[in-house]
Subunit: 159 residues, 2 copies
């Protein structure tokens, strides 16, 4: 499971670097499909991972911060780094005994829901990869090659 998180973090870093070569106007432009702009999508990926994993860590639901506070590349980079620092210890300490532990939480409609920890972990993983796929279409739309989605040849399994 950890390898897939490491893959996502590496791909996210690559996309954040890629954003440095694109104008802020393009980064913030509302696009068809996906949650909104390129930068909002990256913010949303970080926020989704952070909010779910902090719940698994037993912390209170933090709620989604207003994007307006983060609507710049450096701010999203900083947000990503801070969130990563807070959740990484939990992910590095993950073990199979946690798979079937139950998280009970109120969803966005105010209803109580329960999920196995293992389900939440995989949901977060798939969520990020899915949105990166959307970025890859938008990057072609603005005439730039996308970050590769290949998981092989990234050195993730060299150890």
């Amino acid at each position: 499971m950890l390898k897939l998180f490491e893959y996502n973090w590496q791909v996210r870093e690559d996309w954040l670097d890629w954003c440095g070569s694109v104008s802020e106007e393009e980064l913030l432009k509302k696009r068809t499909g996906g949650p909104g702009s390129i930068l909002y999508t990256l913010f949303h990926i970080v926020e989704c991972e952070y909010s779910w994993i902090t719940l698994l860590q037993g912390k209170p639901d933090s709620g989604e911060p207003p994007f307006e506070k983060y609507a710049g590349l450096d701010k999203v980079k900083d947000y990503s780094a801070r969130c990563h620092e807070e959740i990484a210890p939990f992910l590095y300490a993950w073990n199979g005994d946690l798979e079937n532990r139950i998280l009970t939480n109120r969803n966005s409609k105010g209803e109580w829901e329960s999920f196995k920890y293992g389900e939440v972990m995989r949901h977060v993983l798939a969520h990020e990869i899915h949105h990166m796929g959307q970025l890859s279409v938008w990057s072609r739309e603005i005439g730039k090659p996308p970050i590769t989605a290949n998981l092989i040849r990234r050195g993730l399994f060299d150890d």
Copy 2:
């Protein structure tokens, strides 16, 4: 790992059903970003999973079949079902002892490459989710709601 394959198969089925409500012209139209058309993308997902997993099964490299043979919705559905039937037993029998086994294979440039089995498994998983993200953008472009990418609330962890 298996849960993520099951997620991919469920999402793929949903997309193949979704295709039934879209004209063949839209399904075969070349789109910006991604490997090509909606139908080619679904074919490509199946082919990628099939070719890598059959290599892990110790079978010879089958090579990519010509898309022209599969350029219709029913043909891609049938191809997906046949490939699934052939590779599913390996995935259901997967265990951690296989993680570090080495696959050596010639890549598309004719170079020999080696990968851990665990790396190939995760590559295949991420590959499919990534391309589904592209489908979600294209579905909005043609005015249709996409298949949800949510892994939670699919009943995958009910057992």
